[in-house]
C-alpha cells in the first residue's frame, strides 16, 4: 500500500509501521485526507461505515473514505499492481 501511495505522490500515515494493527485514535490524530480500506470479504464495508461516523476528520468531511478490492491491492502480481495503482490514484486525485 505504501508503494501505491508513493507512486501517487501521497503520504502514507502508516508508513513508519513495521507490523500490527493501528489504533483508531492514532489515525484520528494524524487526520488523513483520504482513507482507503481493503474489502476483506464483507468487513471492509462495515469498517467504512465506522469511519464515516467520525465527524471532524478531513477524509470523512470530504467524503473520501474508499474501498479497494483486496484481490488486486493485497496480492500484487504485475497486472493487479497496475489495476490497484489506478484505483488508488483515482481515490487520491478525485
Amino acid at each position: 500500500m505504501n508503494d501505491f501511495m508513493l507512486l501517487c505522490n501521497a503520504t502514507n500515515i502508516a508508513s513508519g509501521l513495521k507490523h500490527g494493527t493501528l489504533t483508531r485514535e492514532s489515525v484520528l490524530l494524524k487526520n488523513p485526507d483520504v482513507i482507503i480500506i481493503a474489502e476483506m470479504g464483507g468487513f471492509g464495508k462495515e469498517e467504512r461505515k465506522v469511519w464515516n461516523t467520525y465527524e471532524g476528520m478531513e477524509a470523512v468531511n470530504n467524503n473520501k473514505v474508499f474501498l479497494i478490492s483486496s484481490e488486486t491491492a493485497c496480492s500484487p502480481t504485475p497486472a493487479n499492481f497496475a489495476s490497484a495503482l489506478k484505483d488508488v490514484y483515482r481515490f487520491i486525485s478525485e
Partner: protein
C-alpha cells in the same frame, strides 16, 4: 454481625471508587491526551477530533469493558459456586469454545456478510448449543451429575477447538485473518446497540444472580446439605447454569475470546472479602469491570500507535497476579 456488613459496604464502596478512577484514567489516556479539566469543554464541542475520540472510541470501549468484564467475572463466580470447584470458568466448561466455533463457522461460510448482527448471533448460538450438549450429556437417570458435567465441558471445549483449527486450515487467507483477530478478542465495537446489549444484559445478570445469592451460599455446603436446607437445588442449578451461559455467550459474541477474567477476578475477591455470595457477586462484577477497563487501556497505549489484542493483556496480568497472590497467601484456597 454489624461489623461484617460494614466491612462489606466499605469494600464495595472502595471497588466503586476504583471503578470510577479507572474509567477516568481510561478516558484520559491514549495517543490524544485529554486532561480531566478539559472534559466538559470537549464534550460540548461536537466537531472536534477530541470529541470524536471520546464519544466514538473511548466511551464505547469503557461501556464494553464494564459489560463484558462484569459478565465474564460474574459467570465465573456463579459457575464456581455451582460446581464447588475453583477451576471452573466459562472456558473450562467449553462455553467460550463453543461460541468461538460458532463465529468461525459464520466467517468460513461467509455468513458474516449478511448483517452486522450475524457474527454475534452465531457466537451466541455456538455458546447455546455447547450448553445444551454439555447439559444433555451429563444428565444421568434424571439427576444432574456435576462432576461429569465438568469433564464433558472440558472435552467439548477440546473438540470445538479442534473443529476450529480444522476450519482455519481450510479457510482462505482473508477468513483466517478475521478468525484469528476475533479469537484474540477486542473491545473495539462500533455498533451502539451491541454495546447496549452487552452492558444491560450483564447488569440484568447481576440482578438475577442476587436472587440466588443465598442458594449459592447454601450450595457451598454441598448439594445434599443444600437440599436438606430446603433449597430446590435441581431448579436453582439449572437456572444459574443457564444465566451463566447466557452471560458468557453474550460477552464472547460481542468481544471475542477474552481469557482469565472469570477465573482470576472471583478468586482475588474471595481472598480479600471471603466467600459470602451476597458480597461476592457484586464484588466480582465490579472487579471484572475494573480489570477489563485497565487491561484495555494498556492494550491500546502500550505499543501505540499499534494496538495489542486485549486477550494478551488479560492473560499476562491475570495469570501473573494470580500466581503471585496464590504463592503469598498462607491460607489454602477454600470454597466451602
Amino acid at each position: 454481625m454489624n461489623s461484617k456488613y460494614l466491612k462489606w459496604i466499605l469494600f464495595l464502596a472502595a471497588l466503586l471508587v476504583l471503578l470510577l478512577v479507572s474509567v477516568l484514567l481510561s478516558l484520559s489516556a491514549g495517543e490524544i491526551k485529554v486532561s480531566l479539566m478539559q472534559l466538559p469543554q470537549i464534550l460540548s464541542d461536537k466537531g472536534s477530533i477530541e470529541y470524536t475520540v471520546l464519544a466514538k472510541i473511548r466511551i464505547p470501549r469503557i461501556l464494553m469493558a464494564i459489560g463484558v468484564g462484569g459478565a465474564l467475572s460474574l459467570s465465573g463466580v456463579v459457575l464456581q459456586g455451582i460446581y464447588r470447584n475453583p477451576l471452573v470458568e466459562p472456558y473450562t466448561l467449553g462455553i467460550s469454545g463453543g461460541a468461538a466455533l460458532g463465529v468461525a463457522i459464520a466467517i468460513v461460510f461467509g455468513l458474516n456478510t449478511l448483517s452486522f448482527f450475524s457474527l454475534p448471533a452465531f457466537g451466541f448460538l455456538g455458546a447455546l448449543v455447547t450448553l445444551i450438549v454439555v447439559y444433555l450429556l451429563s444428565i444421568k437417570r434424571g439427576g444432574l451429575s456435576i462432576n461429569s458435567m465438568l469433564l464433558i465441558g472440558v472435552m467439548v471445549s477440546f473438540v470445538s477447538s479442534s473443529a476450529m483449527m480444522f476450519l482455519m486450515s481450510i479457510s482462505t487467507a482473508e477468513n483466517l485473518h478475521n478468525i484469528v483477530f476475533w479469537v484474540m478478542g477486542s473491545l473495539d465495537e462500533s455498533n451502539n446497540s451491541l454495546i447496549a446489549i452487552a452492558f444491560y444484559s450483564s447488569l440484568a445478570g447481576l440482578v438475577i444472580s442476587y436472587f440466588f445469592a443465598q442458594t449459592l451460599n447454601a450450595l457451598r455446603l454441598g448439594e445434599v446439605k443444600a437440599r436438606h436446607l430446603g433449597i430446590n437445588t435441581g431448579v436453582a442449578i439449572k437456572l444459574l447454569f443457564f444465566v451463566a451461559s447466557l452471560l458468557t455467550g453474550i460477552a464472547v459474541s460481542v468481544a471475542g475470546v477474552i481469557g482469565f477474567v472469570g477465573l482470576v477476578i472471583p478468586h482475588l475477591i474471595r481472598l480479600i472479602i471471603g466467600n459470602d455470595y451476597r458480597v461476592l457477586l457484586a464484588g466480582s462484577f465490579m472487579g471484572g469491570a475494573i480489570f477489563l477497563i485497565l487491561s484495555d487501556t494498556i492494550a491500546r497505549t502500550i505499543i501505540s500507535p499499534n494496538e495489542l489484542p486485549i486477550g494478551v493483556i488479560t492473560g499476562f496480568i491475570g495469570g501473573l497476579v494470580f500466581i503471585i497472590v496464590l504463592s503469598r497467601s498462607k491460607s489454602h484456597f477454600k470454597l466451602n
